[in-house]
Subunit: 236 residues, 2 copies
DNA sequence: TCAAAAGTGTTATCACTACACCCATGG
DNA sequence: CCATGGGTGTAGTGATAACACTTTTGA
């Protein structure tokens, strides 16, 4: 049995994949392999298949195009303007993923036609993908201000200066490092490691890692990772 | 030209419509008019048509079933499990609307087969609508803590005790009225009216109304409408 | 030895919380 | 006149923001 007299339409999933390379945010794009807009840069997308949920579709697409799985990803929003795709009506559900850029860098470049672009300096994207990216950035700024999600962008071990640069990059601001350090350590989400990262300075900066138990327990709590007045108006 | 070899599917919109009657939150439900689950209580839903965007579909559905338009409504999330509808694959996009219950009460009851139910005391809902409602409540608690959206639930003129009861209801808590008053007035979003509402007490409580200019300007800013530790963990 | 980045404490200000009494009025 | 809900201020506490010098070490 089916619902009769109702129009069916194509449903796509588009993945907005953010990375951070230590100094700037990056977005993973591919060259679209088919018409329309063949060869143009695009978010990773694909059609939802009959035998998969939309979340599964997002995971499959990410996996197919990047080889990545077990990645932090969440649904952002559906985009449903009538003419967003010139070929035919397609409603797209946008997902946002945060990945550790370093860990997967070669893998992506070697096996797939994907490339990292600086978020400030994207090529022209197809359809309404530009709008999706802006919305995703906006949401990321909002959520990251209150929830510890940016750690997904870092390797397992990271330094406080790296962490701070990541927050400063997202909000395009400078934060006092003493205040920042105090704030993040007060969340108790971090464990100090014994060794140092010597790549960034002579002195070297201590590595930290996430305390997984604390992280799971407190992930949903509301924190204050950056000064309130650095959160740009309009984020949500 | 069309995309070939891709499965098309039904896309529905479901509207989660909240109201507040002065003491408790209500949800507007209808008795579903067709199989499956005919006569069961349901969110207001309908299929997205080829000639409308998904936002337009949500507005149309709200309008058709309640007569309401120009209502605060925003997209919440897409629900896309394979078997969420037993008849066939349907992906649903859930929208959340906040309306002034008093203004439309008769209209709804007279013209449509819709009914307000207390949020704590809902009938069994069809499909995954229960899950949608819970998610919507969760999001509402989050957003309302930082953004002045609950005003959409009130008439144009309202009193501070009413406002406070609304916040207390949402977070299931008691707030000190001096602190609450100071906090909301410090946002500068409210204008004090000259007249009082005498329905709730002998003395009467002054009416307030939104300062539309301030409201538009500051809507997107982040406020603190309720004490931070009243925001339940897990909201987002 | 010096340049470059890491690490560390204190003080002032602001925001939040807790708390209790008087006011106005209809019955 | 009194019961009921409305309105108002202050003091203590905790969180946040501003601020500068010392440490380490590779070159």
């Amino acid at each position: 049995m089916k619902y009769s007299n109702q129009a069916r339409l194509l449903l796509a999933v588009d993945c907005i994949i953010f990375g951070f390379d230590g100094s700037e945010y990056k977005l993973l794009l591919i060259q679209r392999g088919f018409a329309p807009e063949k060869e143009k840069w695009s978010l990773m997308g694909g059609f939802v298949q009959p035998d998969e949920s939309i979340d599964e579709a997002a995971e499959r697409i990410l996996q197919q195009l990047t080889g990545l799985h077990d990645v932090y990803m969440e649904q952002m929003q559906a985009f449903g303007k009538i003419d967003r795709d010139p070929i035919e009506r397609v409603v797209a559900i946008a997902y946002v993923a945060l990945i550790d850029i370093g860990k997967y860098q070669q893998q992506i470049n070697d096996d797939f036609h994907a490339r990292w672009f600086p978020v400030k300096g994207l090529p022209r994207l197809i359809f309404d993908h530009q709008e999706m990216v802006e919305k995703a950035l906006n949401k990321l700024r909002y959520k990251a201000a209150f929830h510890p999600i940016l750690f997904e962008l870092l390797p397992e071990k990271f330094t406080l200066p790296q962490l701070q640069a990541m927050y400063e990059g997202l909000y395009d601001t400078k934060i006092d490092k003493r205040n920042f350090t105090r704030k993040v350590l007060s969340t108790n989400l971090l464990k100090k490691e014994k060794d140092k990262d010597k790549s960034g300075s002579k002195k070297g900066a201590y590595y930290y890692s996430l305390d997984e138990d604390q992280y799971k327990e407190n992930f949903l709590n509301i924190h204050n990772f950056i000064p309130r007045n650095e959160i740009p108006a309009g984020v949500e």
